[in-house]
Symmetry: C2
Subunit: 473 residues, 2 copies
């Protein structure tokens, strides 16, 4: 948006606050109307979360924030606004009253979006002065992070306003999903409702607890769906035989007893063909093998992201990895690390990003630290080594999937200093891919200043430095 833009947020709870944050952090001015005396505090809490979180998604700074203001009247709030978002409680007569007040003063070309999950746009438009500018724009919590907005219009909608709504949503980093026909609960909430009903049964019947159900989702299909959704996932599962074959196979399952409680669409050949055709249009430009590689790359990158956070399937990886950590042999040099280069370490040049060399040498240094007794327990006790300078030479390219080893020598180990010379070698042929001369200083994690290491660590650092002295380079 080149000119200054203004959003009016009607109803400032978690959802309204999320909309406010999304616009504000993208440079829009945001006006808020909510008669709740707690509104300012509640919106402030959502904004705190959003200001912390949303800018982290991007590798560039976001625009300067717009101006945030709270207003006592709806009139002041919506006057001249480009976008008006209604997130009041799910009572239709209240929404109708609010729209009447808004339309008495708002611009005729403004978007009036409703966050409703319970009403169809035709219901919202009933009795409105200008039904054409009212539509469903249904977000997902947290609104400041998740991109999906279900945009639902009717035949009475003004196509120009709906198109502009979609453009505006895209401009603030959201994804407008244009729902083709209105339907109760739109799309995603119908899935959520179906799963919720099933989950209630499972808890009620003592099949699983809430935690076990959450685990059944996040350790399996949940993370699969985060990247491909339902149909593309099944397309991959179906393999080279194709989507039509996969759907046809699925037919009998629909008659199984575990679906007896529900009405089921008849899986006619026509419906199977329609799904296969749509799937071809969606993913047909990639072979199954390419889709598998894409899926696996996504899963690896997301699971490694959760590993870094220490949560969900990443917590499982951290637990399992404890079994993989080797005991180092006191060799010269130390083989401080052996690993495979993961897909999330590469960049647009198709090779390992130079930042990841820093990470792998840092990981190697942690192993050297552990070897001299500056291990996790020592760090938990408030002492550690911090890196103050590195000299890195990049000698050859490194690619995802390659196995590498780090060979480390302690070249200085007196007082507060610990200096290592690391070589990263390709495991298959021993070629040196990079070297790093790394100077670390011993620090107190309390004062964040340098201090002497404990006597055991000092002795073991000195011994290692002596053992590595004068070795052939």
């Amino acid at each position: 948006m080149s000119k200054e833009m203004t959003a009016a947020i009607i109803g400032g709870g978690v959802i309204g606050g999320g909309w406010a944050a999304r616009f504000l952090l993208n440079g829009w001015n945001v006006r808020i109307f909510d008669p709740d005396p707690q509104a300012q505090r509640k919106v402030g809490e959502v904004l705190d979360n959003a200001r912390h979180a949303l800018p982290m998604l991007y590798d560039y700074a976001m625009p300067f924030e717009g101006v945030l203001s709270f207003h006592d009247t709806l009139e002041q709030t919506v006057e001249d606004a480009d976008w008006i978002q209604e997130s009041v409680p799910e009572r239709l007569e209240m929404k109708h009253r609010v729209y009447a007040e808004i339309q008495a003063v708002c611009r005729e070309d403004a978007v009036i979006g409703s966050s409703t999950s319970g009403y169809k746009p035709s219901e919202l438009q009933q009795g409105a002065a200008r039904p054409g500018q009212i539509m469903v724009c249904h977000p997902f919590n947290p609104v400041y992070l998740l991109p999906l907005i279900e945009v639902v219009a009717t035949d009475a909608s003004d196509p120009a306003i709906v198109d502009r709504a979609a453009d505006i949503l895209t401009s603030v980093g959201l994804y407008p999903l244009r729902v083709r026909k209105e339907i109760d609960a739109h799309i995603a909430d119908r899935f959520l409702e179906a799963v919720w009903r099933e989950a209630l049964w499972l808890v009620k019947d003592g099949i699983a607890t809430t935690e076990e159900i959450d685990n059944s989702i996040r350790y399996g299909f949940g993370i699969r769906w985060a990247q491909m959704g339902l149909f593309e996932t099944y397309r991959v599962a179906g393999g080279e035989a194709g989507m039509k074959h996969f759907i046809d196979q699925f037919g009998p399952c629909l008659q199984w007893p575990w679906t007896k409680l529900t009405d089921v669409p008849e899986l006619t050949d026509e419906l199977a063909q329609m799904i296969a055709d749509q799937s071809d249009a969606q993913s047909g430009h990639l072979t199954i093998r390419q889709l598998e590689r894409k899926r696996d790359g996504n899963l690896i990158a997301m699971m490694r992201a959760l590993k870094q956070q220490g949560n969900a399937s990443g917590r499982l990886l951290n637990e399992h990895e404890k079994r993989l950590r080797p005991v180092l042999e006191p060799d010269n040099p130390l083989v401080s690390l052996r690993r495979v280069i993961p897909t999330d370490w590469t960049d647009v040049n198709g090779h390992m990003n130079e930042g990841r060399y820093g990470q792998i040498f840092s990981d190697a240094a942690e192993e050297v630290m552990a070897f001299v007794g500056a291990d996790d327990a020592y760090v938990a006790g408030g002492l550690s080594y911090f890196t103050v300078e590195t000299v890195t030479k990049y000698l050859a390219e490194t690619h995802a999937g390659e196995a590498v080893e780090i060979h480390s020598r302690v070249t200085e180990g007196k007082g507060r200093k610990l200096r290592c010379l690391h070589e990263m070698r390709r495991a298959s042929d021993g070629e040196i891919l990079a070297t790093c001369d790394q100077l670390m200083l011993h620090v107190s994690l309390e004062t964040r200043r340098t201090c002497d290491p404990g006597p055991d660590v000092a002795a073991r650092v000195a011994a290692l430095a002596a053992a590595h002295e004068g070795a052939d380079r």
Copy 2:
């Protein structure tokens, strides 16, 4: 596992191949039996994928692979095996026949796991010589990456064998979900079936295409579920009012028209309380604010992972980010980059990992490159700069959420050389957090060797070096 372990894989399709890969890459010997003449090729393809993907999950090397062998008889395959995994077609009488053959020769304490999604363990155990060792171990595709295994036993099961099965699954990086009572389709597939039915209706009724449905999942609740599943997500949504309050609120929705097609459990106060109690046991040790931060950290890290892969919601981020990329001003120094430090850049010391300094300086260098004309189009044309040496000084700690700027000067810009001195400054007070002296050489992306830059780029590099010469440091 300290001693050598052997898995027998009966049925070598995508699922059986995935089991084979999971065991083999964790150091087990794996024997495969499948009369399909294509079995060796099919398993080989799954193994190719798995060997590429699974080791990338870990920051240590995996164990040496065990021995893989294909066998002509079931007897040879299962003899002395510690684990026998049956993944034959979903026909009960065939499974019974296979179990009879297996039990005629296998160890009495071996685990016999079935990959079935369609049969309950009591059905599998019917007529078996030793029903106690047969259980459901239901995996999710790709088995070599996703950790979930639904373990379902019966009263006839040997508890010692079921416990050992769970230990073995954990030892190869899987997550055994012990299902409390057997039920058709176990747990996760009930959810999948519910969503699949709803999706068929939506396609049939022309509400959305397969691609739109996939987008409605992966841009919204799909990525939310990848980290918290269903109940913990709703616990966060419910806020400080608590889970019981949230469930009570949900009651009326179950009566709404969009659920009219299905049977619904009566949401008694007793059921609501049971769910609330289980949720407290699961997540009650964290406040809602802590859960929100945890959720947001997970979402940010996963969305950034997808951004690096360029897929799903990460593709949307890359698109939106194009709008955020600023045009650099020809200042001395160049302000080459402004950004916020994301949560996935920090390490166990609670500050930015030294590897990420390398990444941010590399990103800054890319902006300098673009400024002198070595932009994306230039790189696509087969020419680029590669970093050959960096000297990085770490002057102060940097934390997630901090805004920083990179100030860059070109200190050498002749021939094939491009040398930059970068300073990373905290945006709030200008403190220098780190510096990087970065030497790049111009390369041909075809030969991967140095070569002269194009004349335009050479001229602009030289001009920038002249403009930055002798400036105050």
